[in-house]
């Protein structure tokens, strides 16, 4: 239900698209934590938006210009300017020729200064558009390259920009010069910018549900700039999403150490500590593990909702987020096998065979006589090169449903890998027979 509230937060509330997105994500993160770790911290929810806004400010404030001009400030300034515009200070022409000639002298002086300053001004770094214009205006690339070398550039040339330049007719001389100009930037500035770039990309990945990918990029940001408190904090958050509380705690502590005023990191640390504690408690007393069971109907509906969200995430290729959703659904309704099966399928896609098998194991415990689940577990075992176990699973699936063509084909594959060629060939024959039969039945139905 929190999701729907979050979805309703207008993006303007946080002042921008990406910020709003990541705000959503952050609040979502808390919901997930709350459900997953059973550590509901209502104040954390309530404090969510404000805290996040604060966090973002403290994050960007350390590196970029302060942007916090309030509306009141503007109101204070604008009237003054309006007054000025309405009553411009008139040049007192009536003071006579003497004043006028003085003015002229001043003007000449200004001109002189301007002229001497001119070369200084032309050394302003070139912008992206300026270079493109020069290239399109068929200025020789070598000349533009000289300009770039003399003046430097004011932007980070991306690969797309290089490509655009090349198609506009730029020669390698210019491209090399641009590359060199960028490399010559001051290292600290460059490092900060680079770390920021990684963080930005990681945030975007978090929004797409690719938590592992985000973790990789946050780590990269830290590798580039080990003192980046924001990167540590966000890495911690990502780890928290994977319920790796211990590493989450380490990262938050690191962030706080680097920036003792980082309130966001402090809150994150509190949440992580609480979640870790709750999980520990749950592990110690497994018999009180599901006190949430009391309002059965409510959790069942909630489980269904979370399950549906997981399915949606699979469709969007947000596999890690989906795995988390399915886990939640399974926790909300421990007697329901579907989320366990779906989670296992997601684990298969994530190349986590052991986890998939484990998840199927749990599902089989709930539904021991389901040939479909047994076939799926068999295939997971097959993928993990556990051929004996795979064959056992397929045997069981076929016993329960002797017409399951897929299980025959899978068993054939497993036997083939084990070197039982005769057995494999027989299974393949059978699979084809059943398969074509099924196909024929389908065809007649269609007619």
């Amino acid at each position: 239900m929190l999701r729907s509230i979050v979805a309703r937060i207008p993006s303007s509330a946080t002042g921008g698209g990406p910020a709003a997105l990541s705000l959503q994500n952050r609040v979502l993160g808390y919901t997930l934590r709350a459900v997953g770790g059973r550590a509901v911290r209502p104040q954390a929810h309530r404090a969510g938006p404000a805290r996040v806004a604060h966090g973002r400010r403290s994050g960007s404030g350390s590196q970029s210009e302060p942007r916090s001009i309030s509306a009141a400030d503007c109101q204070n300034v604008i009237p003054d300017r309006k007054v000025l515009l309405r009553n411009p200070p008139a040049i007192p022409w009536q003071v006579g020729h003497f004043m006028k000639s003085q003015l002229l002298v001043v003007l000449v002086l200004f001109l002189a200064i301007g002229l001497t300053a001119a070369p200084q001004a032309s050394r302003k770094p070139l912008t992206q558009d300026q270079i493109m214009e020069l290239v399109k205006g068929s200025v020789p690339s070598s000349r533009v390259a000289d300009l770039v070398r003399e003046n430097g550039i004011s932007f980070e040339p991306t690969e797309e920009y290089f490509r655009a330049l090349r198609s506009a007719g730029a020669e390698p001389v210019l491209l090399d010069a641009l590359g060199a100009a960028r490399a010559a930037k001051s290292p600290e500035q460059d490092v900060a910018g680079q770390a920021k770039q990684h963080i930005k990309a990681a945030n975007a990945l978090m929004d797409t549900g690719d938590i592992d990918g985000a973790i990789v990029l946050y780590q990269k940001a830290i590798q580039v700039r080990p003192g980046d408190a924001e990167a540590h904090r966000l890495l911690g958050v990502a780890l928290g999403k994977k319920k790796d509380w211990q590493r989450d705690i380490t990262e938050q502590r690191m962030a706080i150490q680097l920036n003792p005023d980082d309130a966001a990191a402090k809150t994150e640390l509190a949440v992580a500590l609480h979640s870790a504690e709750a999980e520990q408690a749950r592990r110690d007393e497994p018999h009180v593990a599901s006190p949430v069971k009391a309002p059965a109907q409510d959790t069942s509906a909630q489980a269904q909702q979370v399950f549906a969200a997981g399915q949606l995430q699979v469709g969007q290729r947000k596999f890690e987020a989906a795995a988390i959703s399915f886990s939640e659904a399974a926790q909300l309704r421990p007697d329901w096998a579907d989320p366990l099966v779906e989670r296992a399928k997601v684990y298969m896609k994530l190349y986590l065979f052991r986890e998939a098998i484990h998840s199927y194991d749990q599902a089989v415990k709930l539904k021991p006589n389901d040939p479909v689940i047994l076939n799926l577990r068999g295939y997971a075992n097959y993928s993990a090169s556990e051929f004996k176990r795979a064959v056992a699973d397929f045997d069981e699936a076929i016993r329960l449903n002797p017409n399951m063509s897929e299980a025959y084909q899978n068993r054939g594959n497993a036997k083939w890998q084990m070197g039982d060629k005769a057995g494999a060939n027989m299974d393949f024959e059978k699979a084809k027979l059943l398969g074509s039969g099924a196909q024929a039945r389908k065809n007649t139905k269609r007619r």
């Binding site: 960028r182 460059d190 680079q194 994530l350 076939n375 295939y379 897929e406 594959n413 393949f428």
Partner: protein
């Protein structure tokens, strides 16, 4: 050596001739295995273990996971086609290529990994290769080949091939000697129709999987880029074919516009891709240098630096690439790319070893100038790397080799000594110590 190298090229010609005229494609599900097919399957399994044993497979856990995730996300969850076991692997070879064996093993070369720019492109390549497996293209091509060939036993044929050359960057060459002729089709490409089928399938798979199918076209464009003058023709870098592919793919995109992925998300996926593949790219640059493709090495190094300009390791690798360029310019000159230039280069290659060719180029003014410039850039880049990480042993090794080649013996000596000081257990300690001894004698220290 050189003579043997001609043979795979002949084989390619043979196979492409035969494979282009395939009968109607039977679809995977109704495929009936014959004895001939099974022998091909056996060969594929043998090739798998051979590649593994020869150390051609690149083992890096992060990379392995990444390639597998990209591939498996597009696979059905409950079953594999008959006699298929999906495996996704990265193979050490600086030539950009990917191939699928009929048993379900899909290989992507380090060269392709380092050429591509994001996950969507990698997924596209994998989806394309998966089609060759599920639609049994290898078997179909092989059956067709057998109809026209007089070679009765492929096993006998395979064993009659020359001994394997195990030097790096020779996966294709190696495969050409290890597998029956027609497996070359798996590696060098099938007929236009089959490849087109695979492209269409890849397009759909990408769209289904929330990837951006437009990245397929970008992949083709990347493959079109020329870093080296002489590249063996395989399907992946065949220009007329690439133009054709870009053509029909763009047509497909405009007729069936996929849900577009926002540039921000694409950018992030690109960052993730570059971050995860950094190690592979470094390895690939090393392989490119070893297989005398210094221009490719430099192009890849530039990409690395673009992504992470403050990594001493990346700078070192770039410096290595500059050093290996010798008298060649960083990009092929127009003259080299002209038909005449290509022919000249080809005949030079046939006659001379790369060392001899280098010497010949150094004899003229242009070669000298390029050489000077490359050595200067190499030194500059090594110094940049040292400024960031003064304890990187390999940087000193590279510097030593650079100085030695430019006859700055005293500096070479110092660099080598520093290298051994920082890496006392280096595998090439003996060799470097030998260089040090010689340099000591010649400088009289």
């Amino acid at each position: 050596m050189r003579l043997i190298a001609v043979r795979p090229i002949l084989l390619v010609l043979l196979t492409t001739l035969s494979v282009t005229m395939l009968p109607g494609v039977e679809k995977g599900s109704s495929f009936e295995f014959t004895k001939v097919d099974l022998s091909l399957l056996e060969q594929a399994d043998a090739l798998d273990s051979r590649l593994e044993r020869e150390g051609m497979v690149f083992h890096d856990e992060a990379m392995e996971t990444y390639v597998n995730q990209a591939g498996r996300a597009m696979l059905p969850s409950g079953t594999a086609p008959e006699r298929v076991m999906w495996r996704f692997r990265v193979i050490r070879d600086p030539m950009a290529n990917a191939f699928a064996l009929p048993n379900g093993s899909i290989y992507v070369t380090t060269g392709l990994v380092s050429l591509l720019e994001n996950e969507d492109q990698l997924a596209g390549v994998l989806a394309h290769e998966m089609t060759h497996v599920t639609d049994r293209h290898s078997y179909l091509a092989f059956r067709d080949y057998r109809k026209k060939s007089t070679i009765a036993s492929i096993a006998a044929y395979a064993s009659s091939m020359a001994p394997v050359n195990t030097s790096w960057g020779a996966a294709i060459y190696m495969a050409g000697h290890m597998v029956p002729v027609v497996m070359m089709a798996s590696i060098n490409g099938y007929s236009r129709e089959l490849e087109r089928d695979a492209d269409m399938y890849a397009f759909n798979k990408l769209a289904e999987g929330n990837y951006d199918p437009k990245e397929l076209v970008n992949t083709f464009r990347l493959l079109e880029r020329m870093d080296e003058v002489n590249v063996d023709k395989i399907y992946y870098n065949d220009h007329p074919k690439l133009d054709d592919r870009i053509g029909y793919m763009t047509g497909l995109i405009s007729s069936k516009p996929p849900v577009s992925v926002s540039p921000e998300v694409l950018g992030s996926r690109r960052m993730k891709y570059l971050s995860l593949t950094e190690q592979v790219v470094r390895e690939d640059i090393h392989l490119s240098i070893l297989s005398h493709r210094p221009r490719t090495a430099l192009a890849r190094a530039k990409k690395l630096i673009e992504f992470d300009p403050n990594s001493a390791e990346n700078l070192r690798v770039q410096a290595d690439a500059y050093r290996s360029l010798g008298p060649w310019t960083p990009r092929p000159t127009d003259q080299e790319l002209s038909k005449d230039g290509k022919q000249k280069e080809q005949s030079l290659r046939r006659k001379l070893t790369s060392d001899e060719e280098e010497r010949q180029l150094l004899a003229n003014g242009e070669g000298q100038a390029a050489w000077q410039e490359n050595q200067r850039l190499a030194e500059e880049t090594y110094q940049k790397a040292l400024a960031i990480d003064p304890a990187n042993a390999k940087t000193y090794l590279g510097l030593g080799q650079l100085y030695e080649k430019t006859n700055r013996n005293k500096e070479a000596l110092e660099a080598y000594e520093k290298y051994l000081e920082l890496a006392p257990n280096a595998l090439d300690r003996q060799r470097v110590q030998g260089r040090i001894d010689i340099l000591r004698r010649s400088t009289g220290l």
